[in-house]
């Protein structure tokens, strides 16, 4: 039972990017993916009463990490993977870098270098 108000989605997203930025830089795309999933799930568990049920597919108001089956190659960038969700593309570099862009429009809403200090497009 949640006795705290559910925080609005905008607040939860802001907290997610804040914690993801503060986390240690990842050293691989797998580590970056795991880190992104862990941080988002942690924020949602703390800030909303909506249980985690990604299998539902239709929105339940909760934010979910990119699903593994949504991965795509990125033409011209063999060291980058892209995960597509409803309104974002999430790019993960082999060096652990992360970039989230809005779709459509490609506005960058989050970017973080990998453990080598390089961004997704600098590898």
């Amino acid at each position: 039972m949640s006795t705290r108000p559910d925080r609005p989605k905008q607040d939860r997203f802001a907290e997610f990017v804040k914690r993801l930025a503060a986390a240690p830089a990842a050293g691989s795309s797998e580590e970056a993916y795991d880190q992104l999933c862990a941080v988002l799930n942690e924020v949602e568990d703390e800030m909303t009463s909506i249980p985690c049920k990604p299998e539902l597919w239709q929105t339940d108001g909760r934010m979910y990490p990119p699903q593994a089956d949504s991965v795509r190659e990125v033409e011209g960038h063999p060291r980058v993977k892209r995960f597509r969700s409803r309104a974002h593309s999430t790019f993960l570099g082999e060096n652990g870098s992360i970039e989230i862009q809005a779709v459509p429009g490609a506005e960058v809403v989050f970017t973080k270098p990998g453990a080598d200090g390089k961004g997704v497009w600098d590898q």
Partner: protein, 177 residues
């Protein structure tokens, strides 16, 4: 041609001016996306083979949410998408989601709202999971949040707001149009 490619073809045939971008799945069985924009009105369709079509309007904020509406087949999805583009309308997430988001936007917990409604927290939780609500219930919930329920009827030639102050009457007021 698969189902989402067929959907794109139907949209482009109906709306030659629409911009469409198909984002194919990277893995067999993975989701395809179709991004549509007609004169600045965007609609996104996610197709999961075997699961159907998820249709969504653009909404601010958030990340990684599922689609607002799920349609079972190509014909249903086509009708819905074409209808949304024609009316420049937005998709509707499940009522439970909208009610919960409304409560959280007002800074209320389920316990607090329950107190205002003079019910227990479990009743509020159950309410927020329902797919259909009586108008009287929705009016009471919105009032408990400090608001007033207004229902807007939209017609091709204008709109009218229907304001519910009293559960026994519906006062009709002019609005917009």
């Amino acid at each position: 041609m698969n189902a989402i490619q067929s959907l794109e073809e139907r949209v482009r045939k109906r709306f030659p001016a629409a911009k469409t971008a198909l984002d194919p799945a990277g893995k067999a069985g993975g989701p395809w996306f179709l991004d549509i924009d007609l004169g600045g009105h965007p609609v996104t369709v996610e197709w999961r083979p075997g699961k159907g079509f998820g249709v969504s309007s653009k909404r601010p904020g958030g990340y990684g949410e599922g689609p607002d509406e799920v349609l079972p087949d190509l014909d249903a999805a086509s009708r819905r998408v074409i209808g949304l583009l024609l009316a420049r309308a937005r998709t509707r997430p499940p009522e439970a989601v909208r009610l919960r988001e409304l409560r959280s936007a007002r800074g209320l917990s389920q316990v607090e709202l329950a107190k205002r409604l003079r019910v227990n927290q479990a009743a509020v939780s159950k309410l927020e999971k329902r797919s259909d609500l009586r108008l009287r219930t929705l009016r009471e919930v919105v009032a408990a949040m400090g608001g007033e329920l207004v229902i807007r009827a939209r017609f091709p030639d204008g709109e009218k707001d229907l304001c519910f102050d009293d559960p026994s009457t519906a006062a009709e007021t002019q609005g917009g149009g």
